[in-house]
Structure formats: structure tokens, C-alpha cells
């Protein structure tokens, strides 16, 4: 079984990114980059499926405007067998990313292609479905449970207050949600092995941009916090303010 995992390099969620001097992008200075947290669930799921099958290959694919290979190396350290890095594309234009990924994935011929349900920088939720469209494959997004039964992928997908059950025929695409599994940490042995694993670097062909970012800025500051009082004695005043001043209840 060949499993492909698509991963993205994103700013660490512990930091508050700043706007670059151009006023329409994220300032890369001082940012610590990590594997998109949802992609870690995808990597873990691929590794578990390969381990369960006892055979197969896990291929990590990443599109990175800077051609930075650090997160693919980390994925290799977690146990991914080989990496393909596409140098180019854009941090925020998911349609471009999807075309680049589809171009690589059609040659990988994976039985299952796994994604994180969203990248936590662009927050667009669009790349997995766009890749499915380009490759003509079934897909399930925001999946919290995945079971491979022969040539069927049985998926539970999170929706408002419920879950949808989908049965896709493989090859197919699944985007992963927290709760699917508990991602492993790379072992020391894995980190050493990762240095010798194959990592192919491709130059991205030019792709037509679909969107333009005109401006980026932090949200307007909230009014300074106000303490109503201490302990239970403050409760009647809080309720009064919520009713009479804020008028929200």
C-alpha cells in the first residue's frame, strides 16, 4: 500500500505573527516554523496504516515557497519513508498549492492521500478537496475515525453536533481532524535515519494565481479589560451590566 501525506510549514501557534513591511504578508522574521498541527495526525495515521499492513511506503509531499525542507525532515524522522519538496507556490493561494500537489501526486499513485483538515495559517480548508477534484478522487474532510476495509475507506467526518459516515473506494483523499490519533514524537534513531532518507526537490512550474491579498493587519484592539468586582458579591452587578449596558442577555 502506498500512502501519501501532504504537509505544510506554518508559524508556531504559540506565537503571534506580525505583518511584514509590505502590509500584505506575514513577517517571516522571528517566526518559528512547525509542521501544521493537523498534518501530524495525517502522518501518524499513514504510519499506523503501514505498520498494520506490515508493508508499504509512506511518501511525504510538501509545497514550500522558500524550498525549506525542515518539516519534511521531521516527517522522515517520525517514520515517513521518502519526501518530495516542491519549491514554489504561495502561502495563501490554496488553488495554486492544490495544482502543484496534484501534479506530484498523480505520479506517486498512492492508495490513500492524507492531509490535515486545514493549515493553521491560511485556514482555508480547500486544498484536499481541490486536489480530489484535480485527480478525480473521492474525498472525506475533517475525519475523526478512519478504517480501511479492503478497497474501502470508512470515514467518520465531524459536522455540527453530529458525524457523517462516508464509505469511499480507494484510491481516495482523507483530511484529518484532531481526535483521529495521538501523533508520535520522532525518536533519536528516527532523527538519525531521517538524514539519509531520500528527499527529492522539484521546482514548481508557473501556476496562475487565483487570489490577491490586498492587505493584512491585526484585528482592531479590544477595549481595555474591566474588572467588575471580586467573588460572588460581584455577580448581581455583572448581570445588571450584561442586561442594561451590553444588552446581550
Amino acid at each position: 500500500m502506498i500512502l501519501a501525506v501532504c504537509i505544510k510549514r506554518v508559524p508556531d501557534t504559540n506565537a503571534r505573527p506580525q505583518v511584514a513591511p509590505d502590509g500584505k504578508s506575514i513577517n517571516p522574521q522571528g517566526i518559528e516554523w512547525v509542521i501544521n498541527p493537523y498534518d501530524e495526525f495525517a502522518i501518524e495515521e499513514a504510519l499506523r496504516l503501514k505498520e498494520k499492513a506490515g508493508t508499504g511506503e509512506v511518501v511525504g509531499v510538501s509545497v514550500d515557497p522558500d524550498g525549506n525542507e525542515s518539516i519534511l525532515r521531521k516527517a522522515l524522522a517520525m517514520g515517513v519513508d521518502r519526501g518530495i519538496l516542491v519549491k514554489g507556490g504561495s502561502m495563501f493561494d490554496g488553488a495554486v498549492t492544490a495544482e502543484l500537489l496534484a501534479g506530484v501526486l498523480k505520479n506517486v499513485k498512492a492508495d490513500l492521500i492524507l492531509f490535515g483538515k486545514q493549515a493553521v495559517d491560511s485556514d482555508s480548508y480547500q486544498v484536499p478537496s481541490l486536489v480530489a477534484h484535480h485527480l478525480g478522487l473521492p474525498r472525506a474532510n475533517v475525519v475523526t475515525k478512519l478504517e480501511i476495509q479492503g478497497t474501502k475507506a470508512v470515514c467518520r467526518r465531524q459536522i455540527e453536533g453530529n458525524e457523517e459516515l462516508l464509505e469511499l473506494s480507494t484510491p481516495c483523499i482523507v483530511s484529518c481532524q484532531k481526535g483521529l490519533n495521538e501523533p508520535r514524537y520522532p525518536s533519536l534513531k528516527g532523527i538519525m535515519a531521517a538524514k539519509k532518507k531520500p528527499l527529492e526537490v522539484l521546482e514548481a512550474p508557473p501556476i496562475e494565481a487565483r487570489i490577491e491579498i490586498l492587505k493584512m493587519e491585526p484585528p482592531p484592539p479590544r477595549p481595555p479589560g474591566r474588572i467588575v468586582g471580586k467573588g460572588r458579591e460581584a455577580v448581581p452587578e455583572l448581570v445588571r451590566l450584561l442586561r442594561e449596558e451590553a444588552k446581550v442577555i
Binding site: R139, N162, Q177, E208, I211, E212, P218, G225, V239, V248
Partner: protein, 327 residues
């Protein structure tokens, strides 16, 4: 007519999802400002009768794709239906509510039309002949103004941000569309819907959210959060720390690796206010914080804060609200 707008209206089990009517209302507002038209598309089985509510929210025309095959959601078939409605309407802009279905469907339509999606917009503004979508990135730590370089522009609108209008006509024009069936329409069909939290208020659509964090010190203490939420008819949320600890399911997590919410009122109980949590809720209209640590970061953004022990303050707040709201 410049850039007509089509809105996909989501229904489940024959009931329209409110965020879709918010999207119709916003489309209608923009259409009036730019002198264009708004139509809507509804896809499902036995959904014709829903056209009146869509009209009231501001759609002049409703395309109905009524087919037993579409009783349950299937991304590819629904996408084909919406693209056909766009073609009939001559629409160059498509709005969807940024719900689970909207966020799933939009990129498949983008694939069919060679476009992309501006996801989870919180503001839409006309700039000449461009429609700019303002949307959160990094879970709202930053906002980006996005324009499309190519038609159609596909925008999903965050629930609970755009007001719902009821001034439209209850008798919009209705056109029924028939689609040729093909196998590709149901590549990813939903086989079944499994209830996990029946009767609860959905976090991302709620107008009031009551969240709690690690300060409650044990999973059994979340009962006080639930009791306060019940009095207010609120949805319940949790911080990442308590989800990671396994106290609460991930579906309740608010923050950068959970849900981003913008309710009218957000009550944070014993939540310190880690940066990931703040990113997911700081666009709430009014924030209340209850925390025994006066230096907790959550107080910096809380409109109203009570410094105190949640075990003492929360039950008192629940009692006071019962007294005040039910009289």
C-alpha cells in the same frame, strides 16, 4: 447587470440552516449597493417549500434542485447542481455559509469553476467592481483582505456575523432545475448521519458560548459550566488544555487548533487565556471572564471580569440568571 450573486442555501432534513439566510441577507445588502441581483440555490429532496424563507431573507429568485438522489449530502453532486444554478443565473459571485457543509462544498465548486475560496469571511466590501472579503488567518491573529483575480469569486461567510434580514418577498421567483445523473456525482456520498450530541447548541453558530478551562481542576466540575449554559441557552466550549487532558471532546475546543467563534457573549470560566485560545474567541462581541488569578491574560480582553473562585462565582451567577431571566 454587474456581477450577480448566487447564494447556496444549506438545508438538513428539510430545515434551512440559519447561517445560509445570513449569507442571503448579506448578498442582498451588497446587491442593493451595487445594483445587481441575488438568487439562491437549494439542493435536496422535497425542498421546494423552503423557497419562501429564502425570499424573505432577500433572494429575488430561487433555483430548486429537488432530487431524491440529493436527500443526503454528496459533495460532487451538490457542487454540480450549484454550478448549474450559477450558469442559469449568470452569477459571477457565489456565497455559502462557512458551516461544515459550506466549507466542504465550496472548494469542490472552486475546482469545477477553476477558482478558489475566500474562507470564513467576516466582512465583505465593494471596491469599484471588486468584492473584497476580509477573513481571519492564523485563527484571527491577523485579518487579510482578499480579492479574486479570476471569476467566479467564491466566498464563505462566518456564521453569526452578518445580520439576518426578513424584509424580502415571501414569494420569490422559483425555477426548478433538472440535472443529468452521473456516477461522478456521488463519489463521496454521505451514507449515514450519526448523532453525537443531540439537542445541544452548536458552538460555531451559538449566540452565547460558555467555556471552561483547566482551572475547574477535574472533568466532573464541568457540570457547573453546563448548568450555566443551560440557563442561557448557550453552547459549551473548552480550552485546549482540558481537551488534551481528555476531560472534554475535541468538538468543544475553542482556539487555533479547535473552533473559532464569534458569539454575542462569550463567558470564560477558569480559562487563563493562552494565545491559541484568545485567537479563537477574541472576535466575540462581549467577553466575560471569571478567574481567581487577577493577572490571567483573559482579563486584558474581557469586557467584564470577576476575580474569584469559579466554584463560588459560577453557581451564584447561574442562580442570579435563573432569578432574573425567568421572571
Amino acid at each position: 447587470m454587474p456581477d450577480p450573486i448566487l447564494v447556496f442555501v444549506e438545508q438538513r432534513d428539510g430545515k434551512i440552516k440559519r447561517p445560509s439566510l445570513e449569507a442571503v441577507s448579506e448578498a442582498s445588502r451588497l446587491a442593493k449597493a451595487s445594483g445587481t441581483s441575488v438568487s439562491a440555490a437549494i439542493v435536496g429532496s422535497d425542498v421546494q417549500a423552503l423557497a419562501a424563507d429564502i425570499g424573505k431573507a432577500g433572494a429575488e429568485k430561487v433555483y430548486v434542485i429537488d432530487d431524491p438522489r440529493f436527500k443526503r449530502y454528496a459533495a460532487e453532486g451538490y457542487a454540480k447542481a450549484v454550478v448549474e444554478a450559477m450558469r442559469r443565473a449568470g452569477a459571477t459571485r457565489l456565497f455559502l455559509a462557512a458551516t461544515a457543509m459550506g466549507k466542504d462544498l465550496a472548494p469542490t465548486i472552486a475546482g469545477l469553476t477553476g477558482s478558489a475560496v475566500a474562507t470564513d469571511c467576516t466582512e465583505l466590501k465593494l471596491d469599484g467592481d471588486r468584492l473584497i472579503g476580509r477573513r481571519p488567518v492564523c485563527a484571527g491573529k491577523l485579518f487579510a483582505d482578499v480579492a479574486f483575480k479570476k471569476s467566479p469569486g467564491i466566498y464563505t461567510l462566518r456564521p453569526n456575523v452578518f445580520p439576518q434580514s426578513r424584509d424580502g418577498s415571501a414569494t420569490p421567483a422559483v425555477e426548478t432545475l433538472r440535472l443529468e445523473a452521473s456516477d461522478a456525482d456521488s463519489r463521496s456520498p454521505v451514507k449515514d448521519v450519526v448523532a453525537t450530541a443531540a439537542g445541544k447548541v452548536e458552538l460555531t453558530e451559538a449566540s452565547i458560548v460558555v467555556s471552561a478551562g483547566r482551572g475547574l481542576s477535574a472533568p466532573e466540575h464541568f457540570k457547573m459550566r453546563d448548568e450555566l449554559a443551560a440557563v442561557l441557552g448557550a453552547a459549551v466550549g473548552a480550552s485546549r488544555a482540558v481537551v488534551d487532558a481528555g476531560w472534554r471532546p475535541h468538538a468543544e475546543q475553542v482556539g487555533q487548533t479547535g473552533k473559532t467563534v464569534s458569539p454575542n457573549l462569550y463567558i470564560a470560566i477558569a480559562v487563563s487565556g493562552a494565545i491559541q485560545h484568545l485567537a479563537g474567541m477574541s472576535s466575540s462581541k462581549v467577553i466575560v471572564a471569571i478567574n481567581k488569578d487577577a493577572d490571567a491574560p483573559i482579563f486584558k480582553i474581557a469586557n467584564y471580569g470577576i476575580v474569584g473562585d469559579a466554584f463560588e462565582v459560577v453557581p451564584a451567577l447561574t442562580e442570579e440568571l435563573k432569578r432574573v431571566l425567568h421572571h
